[in-house]
């Protein structure tokens, strides 16, 4: 992280006093003991006690906090539920941590417009629960959905296991209200589908809290599917599982979810839950279909035939909701199951072209061997999003560093195979320094200029996403390389 600014640290008492003038009572936390509760998010390997925590409960207070910090040159880190797996909400020693937890109201469920208007601190699952009375739900379902908030989902463009069919957060938003670092409030979109001008809503989504603080969100709701069915399919070869996924899509089927677990993951889960997963399988493929009964029944038969054609060693069809839950239970317990067999684990999040799965698994096994570590894999197979779980022991000297190095190697390999550094967890602090593996200096400068357009003093969540923070004035200059202008060989007239 950037070196804390000593003059800001020295002004701590004055900053706390200013925050107390804006947010009264318990909404400003400055005792060291209480601040420790905020010292990390879901990426617990990185910790930093914030300068002060502010928990406003009105948009006006947020605007006032940001306006004051902007005028005084004080950094601000926004925070939702703190479930980020990439350190997106990691505090700064010289920064105000702005918690949105008090914004927890569902403003409106509007069934005829298939929209919900909610405050940013509402949990992902609470939206679907509120909408269910109208036969509707909110589709993106990150695994942390009972805890993570919609404001954080917007910041991270969160995914989930149903992205292939229903998209990420960005495909399911209609509008936001947002406060800029300057304290200015802007409203983007509404309940309609069209938004004139540049797509600010699309830009804000997934911007990891670097561009503004979202204070209200309007999401798109979908009709609850009539039925959900699942298939559990085993293969004695990872490539065959991959081929099955490809053939399903090739047949024109877009399932609600397709998940692959490799052998180490299968064994960890089976040891934990005793679901009856076949222990001799090299890969287990879980496919979920949803929709009307007639559609589900048709698709289950189609997929069964495709799976057998790909050499599946076992195909189980769910015949009840209980079956469906049982099939999923293992996949959903994969992380805790790994947690049982290893003192610590580190979850990596990259995306690869789906067909590269066998090659990637081979490469990963080799990389892991070199680092003397074990890796278990779960894979959102439909969209190529891979979650290798690196097993390590933090109490062993240097093992965390090895795990991190292995993670970086895996992600770099994802990029080499035509994939990306992060599919759904975000860049944050974690993958910041890997950005040059995917983007050139010119690409990154162009992104940073967007940051400068919305936050010219770089005060909002600095130290995240970009490997180096370049001052905006510097980015504004014409690029002159070794004293030459670009395309010097071209004629000028």
């Amino acid at each position: 992280m950037p070196e804390p600014d000593q003059t800001t640290l020295d002004r701590r008492a004055a900053i706390v006093a200013a925050m107390r003038r804006i947010v009264r009572g318990e909404g400003v936390i400055d005792s060291l003991d209480a601040l420790r509760a905020y010292d990390c998010d879901g990426l617990t390997a990185y910790r930093q006690t914030p300068l002060v925590v502010v928990l406003p409960d009105t948009v006006e207070q947020i605007a006032a906090v940001l306006h004051w910090c902007s005028a005084e040159g004080v950094k601000v880190v926004p925070r939702g539920a703190g479930t980020s797996l990439s350190g997106g909400a990691l505090p700064l020693a010289d920064g105000v941590l702005l918690g949105l937890g008090k914004f927890s109201s569902i403003v409106e469920i509007d069934p005829d417009n298939r929209a919900a208007v909610v405050q940013p601190g509402v949990t992902n699952l609470a939206i679907s629960e509120a909408a269910s009375a109208h036969g509707l739900y909110y589709a993106p379902d990150p695994s942390s959905q009972i805890a993570c908030t919609i404001g954080g989902n917007v910041a991270e463009n969160s995914g989930g296991v149903h992205c292939l069919k229903y998209g990420l957060t960005t495909h399911n938003l209609l509008g936001v209200e947002m406060v800029l670092m300057s304290g200015e409030i802007v409203r983007i979109g509404g309940k309609g589908l069209e938004r004139p001008g540049y797509d600010l809503l699309g830009l804000i989504t997934g911007s990891e809290g670097l561009l503004g603080v979202v204070t209200q969100v309007t999401v798109r709701l979908l009709p609850l599917p009539e039925a959900v069915r699942a298939l559990l399919i085993a293969f004695d070869d990872v490539a065959a599982a991959g081929q099955c996924v490809t053939d399903v899509i090739g047949r024109g089927i877009v399932p609600a979810g397709m998940e692959v677990m490799d052998k180490p993951a299968i064994h960890a889960v089976e040891a934990f839950l005793e679901i009856g997963y076949p222990l001799d399988a090299e890969a287990l493929l879980l496919i979920e279909v949803d929709g009307p009964e007639a559609e589900c029944a048709f698709l289950v038969e189609e997929i069964t035939a495709i799976a057998r054609g790909c050499g599946a060693t076992m195909v189980q069809q769910s015949t009840s909701d209980a079956d469906c839950e049982r099939f999923w239970a293992g996949r959903k317990a994969a992380f805790p199951a790994i947690g049982r067999i290893s003192p610590d684990y580190y979850c990596v999040d990259g995306t690869i072209p789906r067909r590269c799965l066998p090659e990637m698994l081979r490469d990963m096994a080799e990389m892991a061997r070199r680092h003397g570590l074990r890796v278990a894999n779960v894979f959102h197979a439909g969209d190529g999003n891979l979650h290798p779980l690196i097993l390590y022991d933090a109490n062993r000297q240097g093992e965390f560093e090895s795990a991190e190095a292995l993670g970086a190697e895996i992600l770099t390999r994802c990029v080499e195979l035509g994939g990306v550094l992060t599919g759904e967890h975000g860049v944050g602090v974690e993958k910041r320094d890997l950005m040059p593996a995917m983007f050139t200096r010119v690409d990154l400068d162009q992104q940073q200029r967007v940051k400068c357009a919305l936050d010219p003093a770089l005060l909002l969540n600095p130290g995240k996403m970009f490997p180096t923070l370049r001052r905006c004035a510097e980015l504004g200059r014409e690029h002159v390389h070794h004293g030459q202008t670009r395309f010097a060989e071209l004629p000028r007239f």
Binding site: G135, L193, E194, P196, L224, T351, R354, V427, V442, F487
Partner: protein, 379 residues
């Protein structure tokens, strides 16, 4: 006027860099299927910069140079029973004209979307990544070629619908989807207000309709997918609607939706307005405007209303903008003679939005060289 027709990414980058160096404003032109006229001496015509770079049906992606005709991409996808989910429409085809060879770059830059928008999203939802030349003359890339990607700012969203004002697209990578194997349309004769009610109910229904529109006294619901599923959902929806209805299958259904997509119900000679508003406000708005003498067509279940009016004066701009705003929406003139267009500008954005637009434009095009005078807010 100097017209440049680069036929490669290198040539495109070269000519843009040269213009940037000389601070020469550029009109960025695809197939010229819109009525936009840009006041610039230099034209960058991307139509020769064409060709599919990568089509990977298994990974559900297609990448193409920006000047590639939409029709070429659609034909290629169709050969593998796939399609672009957002249902793009060649602007020239609207109101019965011959398709004008719209380029994929133009389709993306104009944020194009057809009737499937209501269920499948617009160009912005399917643009996975791109390469472009910035207003600094620098080639850069953003996004990727996989569906699930949150690495860095989502500049693809910003470029979809930017009307060539942020950079010149070099290549675009788009997500594709399997084409439905079968489709049927439920046709329900009813008036506009009743249509508003049943479209809202239909879109909430588990039958998962992909399109809902009202045209010429008939509400239309499109259901697509595998045959057994389509049949079951069709019957569910028909029961829910509970009114006398007809059914069109396969090509009959496709013809109905092509007519909606190309706004056939409104004569080509009319000034054409596109109004975006919340689903539940569409029908009442359309009814009121029909009362004022406009031809109307409702799409997206009510969230989009097309208005056809006389192509003279301000084409009713004052009333259209005011009524759209009261209905929680906004109106944009899609087609009109230049004199009418000049009088029909929409109300400007609020001060903060205007500031953000200006600063974002400067972030990509600091000298304001791309498509001078074209304001994406007004399109």
């Amino acid at each position: 006027m100097a017209v440049h027709r680069p036929d490669s990414g290198e040539a495109l980058a070269g000519i843009v860099a040269e213009c940037v160096e000389a601070r020469r404003p550029m009109a960025i032109r695809g197939a010229g299927t819109t009525d936009i006229v840009i006041d610039a001496e230099t034209v960058i015509d991307i139509a020769a910069h064409r060709g599919i770079v990568d089509y990977d049906p298994e990974e559900l992606i297609v990448a193409a140079r920006s000047g590639t005709p939409l029709a070429e991409i659609e034909a290629l996808l169709a050969s593998r029973q796939q399609m672009l989910a957002f249902d793009p429409v060649d602007p020239k085809a609207i109101s019965g004209g011959a398709p004008g060879g719209a380029t994929i770059g133009g389709i993306v830059a104009s944020g194009n979307a057809g009737p499937r928008r209501v269920s499948a999203g617009a160009a912005r939802d399917h643009l996975l990544g791109f390469t472009a030349i910035s207003g600094r003359g620098e080639p850069f890339k953003a996004g990727g070629r996989v569906v699930k990607n949150v690495t860095g700012f989502d500049l693809a969203k910003l470029f979809a619908g930017s009307w060539g004002t942020l950079g010149v697209l070099d290549t675009v990578t788009l997500r594709v989807v399997p084409a439905p194997r079968f489709e049927a349309t439920l046709i329900v004769p009813c008036d506009c207000v009743e249509a508003g009610r049943i479209m809202a109910a239909g879109l909430r229904h588990a039958a998962a309709v992909s399109c809902a529109a009202w045209s010429d006294g008939r509400a239309l619901f499109r259901i697509d997918g595998f045959r057994p599923s389509v049949d079951a959902r069709f019957d569910q929806l028909a029961r829910m609607v509970g009114r006398p209805a007809e059914r069109a299958d396969g090509d009959g259904s496709k013809r109905l939706w092509n007519a909606v997509r190309t706004v056939e119900a409104i004569p080509a000679t009319a000034a054409l307005w596109r109004v975006g508003l919340p689903t539940t406000r569409g029908a009442a708005f359309a009814e009121a405007m029909a009362g004022e003498g406009f031809r109307v067509l409702i799409d997206w279940g009510g969230a989009r209303v097309w208005l056809g009016g006389a192509d003279d004066g301000d084409a009713g701009a004052e009333m259209v903008h005011q009524r759209a705003a009261t209905s929680g929406g906004q109106a944009r003139l899609v087609r009109a003679s230049p004199a009418v267009r000049a009088r029909a500008a929409p109300p400007p954005p609020d001060a903060v939005t205007a500031m953000l637009h200006r600063r974002l434009r400067e972030a990509f095009d600091p000298h304001g060289l791309f498509n001078p005078g074209l304001d994406p807010w007004e399109r």
